[in-house]
């Protein structure tokens, strides 16, 4: 039986943050995740590194946490943050009184909100609606949730932290009111395994209530679905927020070559529900086009949704009214020693949440090492010299992107492969500039079971063509290096990968997205005939 001093359930930002913090303090820790890492809300959100401006009126405690963590994450995760800056704009239809409250809220929370002239605002953001009546700059930024989380894992690994993906917790083992371990189901083989531990941390986000229930406990977590739209262009330079009481569809976040518009808020019974309806898409567009009037002329890549784990203390508010703060529950108070749950919060404050709960865990374990997660960078940066050398072998302009995706060790291996094997310079994904060498590096990793796992780490399939070309190419790589029959089933992998893209495309099947999907089907259903059909 596998064992660890601490087992963490949930491979989202909070879970991997705890994994890293515990490992850095010398605690033997194992994280289990029922899917791939970063598969829930930590990647299914707008990718905004909050300045705190969004919470300046409603929740100043959250706002203060945000601005402090914002500065820390820029420092420890440089390559995960795109320092776009943020802009708050008030439209003529928005309540002018709110602006005053917001300015004061920012000042009280320590957030620098710099008023700018309209002329300056239109110069910085030429596509803004002419209905904008005032504008401020704030230190918002874009952050890559996949990369940040993976870098936490890489960091934890260096300190001995371990993780297992595709392991779903199906039982909590207990004896005389003390946690003894967990039972997990390997979701690929179906086997049941046991893992012993002294302390169990439930960091399952929207699933935290379900995990607690396995131990016979009750935790008030309300999954709250947020739907977002990804556009194929960079519509804004800055993160652009509407300066009014928070509502759906009022934040635009530019990432690389795309823009994400979010977010709706809807209480749902099941955190697995990541579907988006046409109505949700229409609502987002209707509000979004108030800030950018020609929004409908841009091609939507896809809609996606995640479920926020809103904590519901007995008698609390729900939905947008609920606190974005977080809570730590020690179930010793419910009669089960050794089990703790952490819920709520937001991506921007994941590190702080981890620090707080790890402080409590360390107190139980008599570990006195202090937290160092705010000082030490997640991964060493790839040196300028190494990048310069690698540029000789990288096709197109992918060097910097690959360096930030891969980190120094993997980058060195990929650069080496490109240098010694010119045929590996082939671009598997032209949209995101991903080379064959990089896809092979990730495909060979034991945590890759399907092409989607490669996608989350390399960004193949996430750009303009939404996998039209890289589905075939990555399936061919996987057929060679995949670790099991499922991974090596090229047609099955292609269909599964394209189906994953389809899920997000379906709700936005309008405008130019229609052309793209006609192409996808013509290639795979007609030219490659992957959809079999029945014998006559």
């Amino acid at each position: 039986m596998d064992k660890a001093t601490v087992v963490v359930i949930g491979g989202g930002a909070t879970g991997v943050g705890i994994l890293r913090d515990l490992a850095m303090r010398g605690v033997d820790v194992l994280l289990v995740e029922k899917c791939d890492l970063v598969n829930g809300a930590s990647s299914r959100y707008h990718g905004l590194l909050h300045s705190g401006g969004r919470y300046a009126v409603k929740d100043q405690e959250a706002a203060k946490e945000c601005i402090i963590e914002n500065q820390i994450l820029r420092k420890i995760g440089t390559s995960c943050v795109e320092p776009t800056g943020g802009m708050f704009v008030r439209l003529d239809i928005d309540d002018p009184d709110y602006e005053g409250l917001w300015v004061k809220g920012c000042a009280d929370s320590g957030i620098e909100a710099k008023p700018i002239t309209l002329e300056e605002a239109f110069r910085l953001e030429p596509l803004l609606s002419k209905h904008v009546v005032s504008a401020y700059l704030v230190p918002d930024a874009a952050i890559d949730g996949f990369r940040m989380s993976w870098q936490n894992v890489e960091s934890a690994k260096r300190y001995g932290g371990r993780f297992q993906t595709y392991r779903e917790v199906v039982g909590v083992l207990q004896e005389n009111g003390q946690v003894k371990g967990i039972e997990v189901r390997n979701t690929i083989t179906g086997e049941i395994e046991k893992i012993a531990c002294d302390i169990l941390v439930n960091a399952a986000g929207g699933w935290a209530g379900k995990v607690a229930a396995l131990a016979g406990l009750e935790v008030g977590v309300q999954p709250d679905k947020g739907t977002l739209l990804a556009f194929n262009q960079r519509i804004t330079n800055h993160v652009v927020n509407r300066l009014h009481k928070s509502s759906d569809g009022d934040i635009f976040v530019p990432h690389g070559s795309i823009t994400i518009l979010g977010t709706s808020s809807m209480s749902i019974p099941d955190p697995e529900d990541t579907s988006s309806s046409r109505e949700e898409v229409e609502n987002l567009l209707a509000i979004g086009e108030k800030t950018f009037e020609n929004l409908r002329d841009y091609r939507m890549l896809r809609a996606f949704a995640g479920s926020r784990p809103l904590y519901m203390p007995p008698g609390g508010a729900s939905g947008r009214g609920a606190s974005r703060g977080f809570a730590i529950v020690d179930h010793a108070n419910d009669g089960l020693k050794g089990m703790m749950t952490i819920v709520g919060g937001k991506f921007t404050t994941y590190r702080l949440m981890a620090e707080k709960i790890v402080d409590q865990i360390c107190a139980k374990l008599n570990v006195t090492e202090p937290c160092r997660t705010a000082e030490e960078p997640l991964v060493p940066e790839v040196s300028e010299n190494d990048k310069k050398e690698a540029r000789k072998y990288f096709p197109a302009f992918g060097t910097n992107l690959a360096a930030t995706r891969l980190g120094p060790e993997r980058f060195a291996r990929v650069a080496d492969s490109l240098k010694n094997h010119p045929e590996k310079r082939e671009l598997v994904c032209e949209c995101e500039n991903v080379t064959l060498a990089e896809v092979e590096e990730i495909a060979r990793d034991l945590s890759s079971f399907q092409i989607n796992d490669i996608r989350r780490r390399t960004r193949i399939g996430m750009g303009t063509c939404q996998a039209n070309f890289c589905a075939l190419r990555s399936a061919a790589v996987f057929a060679k290096y995949g670790q099991d029959n499922g991974a090596r089933d090229s047609i099955g992998q292609m269909k599964q990968f394209l189906q994953g893209r389809w899920k997000g495309i379906r709700p936005v099947l309008v405008g130019r997205t229609l052309r793209e999907i006609e192409m996808t089907r013509a290639l795979y259903e007609l030219s490659f005939h992957v959809n079999g059909g029945k014998k006559a």
Binding site: S277, R278, E282, R296, D297, P395, P422, E423, E426, L427, F469, L472, R473, A475, A476, A479, K480, S490, I491, M494, K495, L498, Q499, R501, W502, R506, L509, V510, G511, L514, R515, I517, E518, M519, T520, R521, A522, L523, Y524, E525, L526, S527, F528, H529, V530, N531, G533, K534, K535, A536
Partner: protein, 414 residues
């Protein structure tokens, strides 16, 4: 102002076929094109009908068509016109040294770049999977540095289809075509247009050739002109050579496009490229002219008859900026669609039923003249062809180029 008998808008298979057929009837034809047409994207084989409404394989396209619903484009076109269009196409490809084969009674199975066998109706000799019959060894020919053709997965997937008892071997040839960028099938095809390339390839493959025992399976690389490349290699190896379908660019589609353009020029069709048709000029029930934008100016083209081959959603002939409001861009023709979010698409991308959105298009009468929602004719001289037609899902049933060919032929003959 320019006057023609017939104006054809669009240069996919439907537009090219409509222009050629009209010109061969002695009409003065102007072809207005905006992009490069969709032939460079599809494999240039003519699927007529591969699967019926229940997704069951159709052995004979002719019989399969009988089971289609009455609103399907084939039902408006009629079997007679479909047959004649196939005859005309076969004759034309033969005349231009790129003979296609096949008939409406039987499918040809074409190997694909993922190792499946795809049913089609008309194909050139070099893509006809019938050639595998009787062989004992399949040599899969990969090309060093060529993307999108992976011997391993082809071998793995085609083995159960052609037979476990056959021997499969992958041979990789080096063309020397590198130079800092990924190469495509088109690069290799151009290399094989010349003797040097063809000799290099045939010398590399000769040691594996054992007459009728071996079949060589290649990406679409055998030259850019008709069947010349395939003939040459088959002659040198004295074995069958077969090409797969592939990701764009499609060399075979381009070969077909090339002979169409040759034939159009030989027939005196006036081809105006890079021109965007903006709107139509209407007089009563007739269209008298279309206005097009060329460079910075607008230009008017008059004609007696117009054939609209602008390619539906796929090529931008039909657009839909907002849900449930599809529009035909030039004539503002009524566009029929399946209403309701739940009917618009299937949960599965690759499903056992057609996709609702793919049925979107213009409804016509039996003359291919457009109808409004009440079944009333909208124009007396504007014919709708190809992907602009509503009521069929070309991917699901494998019918795209067949509908294009037959509707274009019929529109030209009206």
């Amino acid at each position: 102002m320019k006057h023609s008998d017939t104006i054809v808008i669009g240069s996919g298979l439907a537009g090219l076929m409509a222009a050629l057929t009209s010109a061969r009837r002695g009409k003065k034809v102007t072809l207005l094109t905006m992009g490069s047409g969709s032939l460079s994207l599809n494999s240039g084989v003519i699927d007529v009908l591969g699967f019926d409404e229940n997704h069951a394989f159709v052995e004979s396209p002719r019989k399969g068509i009988e089971t289609l619903p009455k609103d399907h484009p084939y039902k408006k076109i009629g079997m007679d016109m479909l047959e004649k269009s196939v005859e005309a196409f076969l004759a034309f490809t033969k005349e231009y040294h790129f003979p296609y084969r096949g008939s409406l009674d039987k499918q040809i199975m074409v190997p694909t770049a993922v190792g499946t066998l795809k049913p089609t109706c008309l194909a050139p000799h070099s893509m006809d999977g019938t050639g595998f019959k009787g062989c004992s060894k399949v040599i899969i020919v990969a090309v060093e540095g060529l993307k999108d053709f992976y011997g391993d997965i082809i071998k793995e997937n085609i083995r159960p289809l052609l037979g476990e008892d056959l021997v499969y071997e992958i041979v990789t040839i080096d063309t020397g075509l590198t130079g800092g960028r990924d190469i495509t099938t088109l690069d290799v095809a151009r290399w094989l247009d010349h003797d040097k390339g063809m000799t290099t390839l045939s010398e590399a493959l000769k040691p594996y050739a054992k007459g009728s025992e071996t079949v060589f399976l290649l990406p679409q690389i055998l030259g850019t002109s008709g069947h010349a490349g395939a003939l040459a290699l088959r002659g040198k190896l004295e074995s069958e050579v077969i090409e797969t379908t592939c990701l764009p660019p499609s060399v075979n589609g381009l070969r077909l496009q090339k002979i169409f353009y040759e034939a159009l020029r030989d027939s005196g069709v006036d081809i105006i490229e890079d021109t965007k048709v903006l709107r139509a000029v209407r007089k009563g029930a007739k269209c008298t002219a279309v206005v097009a934008q060329a460079a910075a100016r607008e230009k008017t083209y008059e004609a007696e008859k117009f054939i609209l081959a602008t390619g539906g959603f796929y090529s931008g002939g039909i657009t839909m900026r907002e849900f449930e409001h599809p529009k035909e861009a030039i004539f503002d023709l009524p566009v029929w669609f399946v209403p309701g979010e739940e009917n618009w698409s299937n949960e599965q991308l690759f499903a056992d039923k057609p996709q609702g959105f793919a049925m979107t298009g213009i409804r016509t009468d039996e003359n291919l003249l457009p109808l409004d929602g009440n079944g009333k004719r909208v124009y007396d001289n504007v014919y709708v062809v190809g992907r602009n037609l509503g009521g069929y899902d070309f991917c699901f049933e494998h019918s795209g180029n067949g509908v294009a060919l037959a509707s274009a032929y019929k529109a030209a003959m009206m």
